[in-house]
């Protein structure tokens, strides 16, 4: 069977956890903007957590199914329709032949992913299904999925056990600004005591200049000791480089190296939340220890593992009862 992209949406691509092993050659990691959304969607449809998915940024695509397959949409709170009937995110559904899935816009959030209980018949490029448009890498020649694109599916599981139990309960309400936990960065000493206080004690606003490479943050100037420049050095997801104009938080398609001091880096457990921020959203940074970061990630992993067990478990009662 196959799926057909009927409408492309704003920026619809195939992604996975990213293209590891080539960053030393300047090739960006790329991958799903929200690794957590990718993992949740894959768990919902019984896939390995880093299985390739379709990612939508902005208005999503319309996808037609040629046969039965299960799917789930996770990430921002996108409005999703199956045959024009609204359906939920964070829940597994079963599509049948001629069904039409439509991902409309999102009142909150930047990206979502669609996982299918099947494998895409698409080539991996340098070991990954991640798409990076700038470097032209990815299963669709590094491009967006355009209207008319047909993706063959194989290893299709048309039904899954415990369909009624396959959902994640709604998250906590939006507090108006997001606190992101960070670990002090490798160039923290480039900033004065005052500069560091400015960073941790003030709110910053996500600028309009924010995309898959990075989010520019508007806020008070952060004082350095001797300027922002460093000898160019490697970067990672969540690293916050402070340019003379503004801090920039590195997202999945960030340049592999940079020449500005890194004041802090967002912890893995909060990176996916950060990736959903939109222009105008206000954020604060809270410094945590490496141990706290590791504990937060352990908790997140334990939650995902519990869900995975719950979805595949034999028996009646679920832990995520409504």
């Amino acid at each position: 069977m196959h799926i057909t992209i009927r409408e492309s949406g704003a920026l619809t691509t195939v992604q996975d956890a990213g293209r590891y092993g080539y960053q030393g050659q300047g090739i960006p990691l790329s991958g799903a903007m929200s690794p957590l959304a990718m993992k949740m969607a894959n768990i919902l449809v019984g896939n390995p957590v880093n299985h390739p998915v379709i990612e939508c940024i902005g208005t999503g695509p319309e996808i037609e199914f040629s046969g039965a397959v299960c799917f789930a949409v996770c990430g921002g709170s996108f409005r999703v329709f199956l045959n024009e009937q609204p359906i939920e995110t964070n829940r597994t559904y079963r599509a049948k032949a001629a069904d039409l899935l439509k991902i409309a816009n999102a009142p909150r959030g930047r990206s979502c992913v669609i996982a299918f209980s099947a494998d895409f018949v698409l080539p991996a490029v340098y070991g990954s299904w991640a798409t990076d448009i700038k470097s032209g890498l990815g299963p669709n020649r590094g491009g967006k999925l355009q209207a008319g694109t047909v993706i063959e599916l194989t290893e299709v599981r048309s039904t899954l056990p415990n369909m009624d139990r396959r959902f994640f309960p709604p998250g906590t309400p939006d507090p108006g600004f997001t606190v992101l936990r960070v670990i002090e960065g490798p160039n923290a000493e480039s900033f004065s005591e005052k500069g560091r206080r400015t960073f941790y004690e003030n709110a910053f606003t996500v600028s309009l200049q924010s995309d898959k490479m990075g989010f520019r943050l508007e806020g008070p100037a952060i004082e350095t000791v001797q300027g922002n420049d460093i000898i160019s050095s490697g970067l990672c997801d969540g690293a916050i480089q402070v340019t003379p104009d503004a801090p920039i938080m590195m997202m999945k398609n960030h340049a592999t190296t940079g020449g500005y001091a890194v004041i802090a880096a967002v912890i893995s457990a909060d990176f996916s939340k950060a990736s959903q921020l939109m222009p105008g959203d206000r954020i604060r940074f809270r410094k945590v220890s490496l141990e706290e970061a590791q504990e937060a990630l352990r908790k997140q992993n334990a939650y995902l593992l519990a869900a995975e067990r719950e979805f595949s478990r034999k028996g009646i009662l679920g832990i995520f009862r409504k």
């Binding site: 092993g21 960053q23 490798p186 050095s233 880096a265 490496l290 590791q294």
Partner: protein, 233 residues
Amino acid sequence: MYEFVIKPCGDAALLIQFEQKIEPRILAEVTEISRRIDEAHIPGVLDRIPAYATLMIIYDPDRISFERLQKRIRDLQELPVQTESAAGREVHIPVLYGSPYPEDLKHVAMHAGLSEEEVIGIHTAGAYPVYMIGFLPGFPYLGNLDSRIHTPRRTRPRTAIRAGSVGIGGKQTGIYPLTSPGGWHIIGLTPVRLYDPSRSEPVLLRSGDTVHFHAVSQAEFESIEKSGGALCI
């Protein structure tokens, strides 16, 4: 090996920091520790980004902890230095000087108080170590540009510089591997593809290589371009 510090960069990456200087001896150390980590096949290590005086290691915190990885790196640091280190390659890059922006070569010559031929002579006489690859896929940071042709960047950067453009920006010279915005003066164009996602090895240059430029004619340029911009090393 020289001393370095290991610092976390978030909880899924760490940075090995040497003395913060641009020097061949420090680059050699970065290259050496990067090679040792590569050959140690440490489970959970996902990627390495060598730079002038740092090596970033990207790791999977679900598979290895910062503490454990730090210990493994310190153990590798203790290993005796091998007498023969893998030598970098000598890479010859053909350049059609004065193309596609002849005004830039003119500007560099004027700024240096030299003729265009003299600028080309100085640029082709140099041997340029690749210090690191970054910024764009396959973009080489080259050292050793002759100070006589150092030229401040353009006051108004171009929005799109053609792939293969050979430029001078301040004290640096380099080659744009793909079409990109940029503020360097473009003194020539190479038909060699520094980055080609259809190749099994997408990126031509590696840190530790030495680049030599040599001038070619329009006809030679076209013949290399027709053959696919490949380069035998």
